[in-house]
Symmetry: C2
Subunit: 420 residues, 2 copies
């Protein structure tokens, strides 16, 4: 490996001659002195010299003597540097990476993602996302979950019916999976508690700030629950673990973005759907974005919580595999988790008896033929179980205050965008 | 949550009345006494009673008094049990799950995966895979890598040209990504060191024991390397971390399968391709499976290592983005890692200068048009870098001695199989 110290470690090498390596983040050539700011994966470091400097985004190794300098990033700089250029750019970035704010529109940023993401503010959400996923896995590993990997190519477009991408699968029609729902349920029969972090695909024909054609779904499913409340308790732990991981692994990225990391209450407040309707003076069978915002405001005001569970959504609005509330038929054991005015997670208890699946499909006017692979698990004895799915990009956007989900996705895919 | 103790914890509750929950793994009704073996995610537990017992794969809660019993799994059993049935199967499994070996052919097993994977020997490889992936991430996190998630839908079929799945992408043609190669290289410009664990797709028209249409690729890529040897050093760490994780997290699964976990030498032996040719008396520009086996035997004999790096494969046999060996043009800075006679990992140093990409494509008679999104990263200054990709299922198969990769994949996808 190129022998180097990281820019964040300069202070530990005061007085020594060391080599750093990275990209020229900024050069400033004054009359008698020049400043070279080098960016590596840990931050920025400055070198001071009298010579001509390579241009921005050149890849350099800089060897110099670590010297205290209050104006330098981190309080130290390299003096008397020797500079070796490892690679030179042949194009200038579409905007200056060294300015505090990226001076470009979102389409320009996305068209130039390979270089735009080098901007510290554009990179930061991806650091936060990585930390969040690590916390999700850590928490569930600690609770006895097993990680699974399920097929993204499926033989029938059954789960939601619409908005699937079709594939030519060796001359046969197939589809990209919209979720690992069926497989993760089947795997409850094997491991009791499973999770998957992976891509899911939605052929969303709408151009919105909240939807992508591909996103990263954090899915969990667990057996031997009493009802949906046990699933909610696990989700609470996962959410707390994700945020704790951001605090531990990506604090500076969060600080750079001015993101306030929420506290997760020991018990997240939960209200029934009918209560949510009453609070928002609605009789609609689903909650609108405006109602979700009002409910989040209510939870903050009444419970001091940025999180709110809404439980018991009407069965008619939930997928056929949803378990009804035994005490209030017509209402489900399904829930959403709202965070800062937005639905962030959907989950619930599922049906577990084969006969209940047959009946649920019949009630929706469907036969079991298209679901044979799925329903097989339930013919062999499945425990009461439930789970949830959380969209990573939506979580990251909500946490960092990004208005558009594309701002927190490295290479987004949507109605118009297939590259880079 | 259903209040229960896990079967593996019975010994800690000797003399107490506790509840376990799981599936009826086996029932044996003798004249005066019946044995009920319950399977949960931690193992097996036995209850002894005089009553009639629910059938295999019934989901049960069993409350009884924990009593020492040398013949019982774990040395303890539940006596005077009350049994509650949570769910009953409506079909018998296609083979007995309680027999030590699954008594079914591979097609039967795959057709009935949701129940077949409940067999301890069929579940074990998936436990080992999960442990391996956890170790992979742990190791790379510790080395300053950042996890990324890249698009699985791409606009052009450029990386290898053949064997891609076509998608109807909002009326436009698109393709399933064969690897995150291009994106992970671009992200070296952002994070220097990145990894991804995710699905990749190959429209393999051949029906072999080594290939699937979808598999889980463990990809890593890192910048500021001197050459491919730095990449090999990181791969060595990742491999050791994966195996250490299996020892720590899935030792009983490995023991059940009789899998011998290899030692990873502090430095894995490495030989140049020309030396590999000489040792196998070959002049072919690539290594055949038979040669790979002979080389592995040689490494074990000469170096006591089950791992062997072969470096310097001819440029003509490697992808266009491969970095040549500056000292021996015609040979590459690419490598394979052989393990127990099989190529397990492919990697190498990549080109990093934009002009070198243009020249490499021209030398293969290709223009840059189809690669624009990819090549963009290299116009902005990229450090010397390299990486590798490891197929999770192939790793698991090799480690557990599975003859067919489908034996270690939950729901495999191939030429013939799209369900379950």
């Amino acid at each position: 490996m190129i022998s180097r110290v990281m820019s964040a470690e300069l202070a530990e090498h005061a007085g020594q001659r060391v080599t750093i390596a990275g990209w020229v983040h900024r050069r400033r050539q004054l009359k008698s002195v020049s400043f070279l700011v080098v960016r590596d994966r840990t931050g920025l470091a400055q070198a001071v010299t009298a010579r001509d400097l390579p241009g921005e985004e050149s890849v350099v190794e800089v060897t110099g003597t670590v010297t205290a300098s209050p104006q330098a990033p981190g309080g130290f700089e390299l003096v008397a540097p020797e500079i070796e250029v490892l690679a030179e750019p042949c194009t200038a970035p579409p905007f200056d990476l060294y300015r505090p704010e990226p001076g470009a529109t979102l389409p320009t940023i996305l068209d130039h993602a390979p270089v735009a993401l080098r901007h510290p503010r554009l990179r930061a959400p991806l650091e936060i996302a990585a930390a969040g996923v690590a916390g999700f896995r850590e928490t569930l590993d600690g609770l006895g979950f097993t990680e699974i990997h399920t097929p993204k190519i499926v033989g029938s477009a059954t789960e939601s019916g619409a908005n699937v991408f079709g594939i030519d699968y060796f001359g046969r029609p197939a589809y990209l999976a919209q979720s690992p729902q069926f497989c993760k349920q089947a795997m409850v029969g094997v491991f009791e508690r499973v999770y998957e972090v992976g891509p899911v695909f939605r052929a969303e024909p709408h151009d919105t700030v909240r939807h992508l054609a591909q996103y990263t779904s954090l899915d969990a499913e667990l057996g031997f629950v009493r009802d949906h409340r046990d699933v909610m308790a696990v989700l609470r732990e996962a959410m707390a673990g994700m945020l704790e991981s951001v605090r531990r692994r990506a604090a500076s990225a969060a600080a750079l973005l001015g993101a306030t990391l929420p506290e997760v209450p020991a018990e997240i407040p939960a209200i029934h759907f009918t209560e949510a309707q009453r609070l928002t003076s609605s009789e609609e069978p689903d909650l609108s974005p405006a109602q979700e915002r009002r409910l989040s405001e209510w939870a903050l005001r009444e419970h001091g919580s940025e999180f709110l569970f809404v439980t018991g959504y009407p069965m008619a609005k939930r997928p056929f595999y949803t378990h009804p509330d035994p005490a209030r038929p017509g209402y489900s054991n399904g829930f959403d988790l709202l965070f800062r005015g937005l639905e962030l997670v959907t989950g619930g208890q599922r049906l577990h008896a084969y006969a209940d699946y047959v009946a649920a499909l019949a009630a929706r006017g469907e036969g079991t033929e298209a679901y044979e692979g799925y329903l097989q698990a339930f013919t062999y004895g499945m425990p009461p179980h439930g789970g949830f799915a959380l969209g990573l990009e939506r979580w990251t956007a909500r946490l960092t205050g990004a208005a558009n989900i594309r701002q927190v996705t490295a290479f987004p895919r949507d109605l118009h965008r297939l590259s880079p």
